[in-house]
Amino acid sequence: MISTLGTALVLGGLLAAAFGAVVGIEGGLRHRAGALKLVLGTVTAFLICMVGANLTMIYALVTHDFSVQYVSHVGSRATPLVYTIVSLWSALEGSILFWGAILAVYVFAFARAHRKDPPTNPLLALGAMLAVGVFFSFLIAGPANPFGRVSPVPPDGPGPNPLLQNHVLMVIHPPMLYLGYVGMVVPFGIAVAALLRGQLGDGWMAVLRRWTLIPWTFLSVGIVLGSWWAYAVLGWGGYWAWDPVENASFLPWLTSTAFLHSAMVQERRHTLKLWTVSLSLASFLLTILGTFMTRSGVFNSVHSFTQSAIGPTFLVFLGVVLAVSILLIAIRGPLLVPEGPLGSPVSRETAILVNNLLFAALTFTVLLGTVFPLIREAFSGVRISVGAPYFNRMALPLGVAILFLMGVGPSLPWGRASPETLRRQFFIPAGVGVAVVVVCVAAGLRGTLALLTFGLAGFVAVVTLREMALPARVRMREQGEPFLQAVWRSASRARRRFGGYIVHLGVVLVFVAVAASQSYVTHTTATLTPGKSFQLGRYTVQLSGLRNGVDPHRRWTAAELEVTDGSGGHHVLAPRMNFYERSTDPVGSPAIRTAAFDDLYLTLLAFDAQAQTASLNAWIFPMVAWIWWSLPLFVLGALFAAWPERRRARADAAERVSVPGKAPSPGAAA
């Protein structure tokens, strides 16, 4: 019953998407305004089918209907309700079903937002997005069908992956990442529409930018939450391992970040159009590549990859999207000609251009390191992987250069900078940067790369804060407004700029936290009997004893530890090892004590119940928590930049009428 309903809904979605894609693209190419209504209808039908199919699956999971194939794979009567619902995205088929629903929501949201626009662009864009929808609903209906029937019906299932039941982050991290991944479909659709028409007006460019900012924000949040989850759950003491799965989410983030910057040049100078559009296409291609890499099992081995039909299907789709993108760029690209020159070598547009090249270089190196083992194994049959040192050695210099440009770009004016301006703009921030390094060295910190990062971070922070405060100071002087009002007014007049700077501050925080936690880590291992202790940094860790417990879905053994820090603080930490009913291997849970500037991280490696001994791994990571604490800045900045500004636009228009020919003030442009 459930199986039939689910399959029917997916097939309905497939039909709606296919019909809408054909009507949309055909209608867009022939400028048939009437077609839009029809396409909007198919978008709604697609949404209903996809969301319906997901709700059906959730119903099957919650009611433990083990006749449904997917439920029999990931369901278990012992799993708590929250994790039962979450298991919708805990395995392959379910996560692709979930992909489909998010895709439908995005397409629907885009259709709602642009239903009153001149119809050609929305028609083409919706057509392209629905074509992607065709692929995903085909995947769900065929190779990755979660609604298959199981006979005989098993009485119970294995439950989701134990690692996925261990932490509440599992509830929010994957949806965030999917919202980021899938959302790149919208900019892709817009870019395809622009290329099909061979023109990209400023208005349509603003649409492209807004619809990139939304998935970009989700992707940023998803990546940071993912590293947090890895840190809090996996227990190897790190948060980023250059794992193919992590790289898969990082690559589209890099290209879409580059896009958000090159779009500014496009807007100001009417140049770099083709490059900007290409970045949109690349972001989408990389999300598809990422989904392919994480979902097809290709990274277990090239040889096991053909065992499921999903891998080859994905590969074909990837090839089609790539071919279409290249073809469109080759045929239509020359139409997106620059309408203005790029500025002088010392200008903001040049800084952004260099930033884009650095992002492209970073994308290339990470992509190369990620797919190199696949290519090598496919051709020579030798199984290898690329070690983290490769990524670190390549990414660190590029990352530091990007950090440096974050301070240079905002300091430079558009167009051309005089030597006088340069001196004025750089003197104080550079001084602060040097001062930071001197203070760090005086405090006993060593390590060239870390010190360089801290110094540059100081430089960038000063530049960013100054650029945020400068327009407010002008207002305070000229209009006599109080400080807070001046900040708010100037900020809401240049939302994207101000929001962007808030995000920059978040990025600076991440750089500092990563540099500190990688460079000044301390680590030890110890095997303790009750009453015995070891010392790590300012912490003394003493074993009180082993404790056992039982949860509905698991048993666990914890090492109870008394932790004293140097200032007399007292804490109890209990790293544990969980034994899940249906899994043979134990899964550890680290115990973490987070202080303002460092984390004490303890894992239980092994224990002996008879001798009452516990073997522990212990680390101190300075500042690591600041990586996740930067999240509010990312979200706040993006919200500030993306917030609809209808009222402001009207106010601005009125202002522009009253002051004709006014030169742009420093705060007015982003």
Binding site: A361, S385, M394
Partner: protein, 157 residues
């Protein structure tokens, strides 16, 4: 040739040079940071080529080969292609505490280096049934995680 065209050609040439340099550095760097997946038999067959690079040695802990030193800090054992008698095997030393599941006959992946003394020095010991250690992520099916979940241990620094 107009100045604009010439500038564009210059820019293009500069980009090509930069791109070629980047590719050169990347490939060179990759070559130095490859991690090989070998079984003891495969590794021994490499001869002196196996001395030096990082290797993930996959196999089973040979029955009867487990040896602790008196202070229980150094662990020595042999990893073999299979638990059949006579399978090729390599002697491994490790200074870290092995994970809870560690015992004879279990599948392990040992990351470390091999040298002329024919001893494999482990920097990371993983109890595992697959050849590759990878923290399972959302979306890995039950069929997959069963073979990849292991008690992760730290890299000995």
């Amino acid at each position: 040739m107009t100045p604009t065209t010439r500038n564009r050609l210059f820019a293009l040439a500069a980009l090509l040079v930069a791109g070629a340099g980047l590719a050169y550095v990347s490939f060179g760097n990759i070559g130095q940071n490859l991690v090989f997946y070998w079984t003891p038999g495969e590794m021994l067959a490499q001869g002196s080529k196996a001395y030096g690079p990082t290797i993930r040695l996959g196999g089973v802990v040979q029955p009867g080969s487990l040896q602790w030193d008196s202070a229980h800090t150094h662990l020595a054992f042999r990893v073999a292609d299979s638990d059949k008698a006579g399978a090729p095997s390599v002697s491994v030393v490790s200074r870290e505490t092995p994970p809870q599941m560690f015992r004879e006959r279990i599948g392990v992946v040992v990351e470390g280096t091999f040298d002329k003394s024919q001893t494999f020095t482990s920097s990371r010991l993983m109890v595992n049934h697959s050849n590759e250690y990878r923290p399972p992520k959302p979306g890995d099916g039950p069929d997959k995680w069963k073979t990849t979940v292991s008690a992760p241990t730290a890299e000995a620094r």
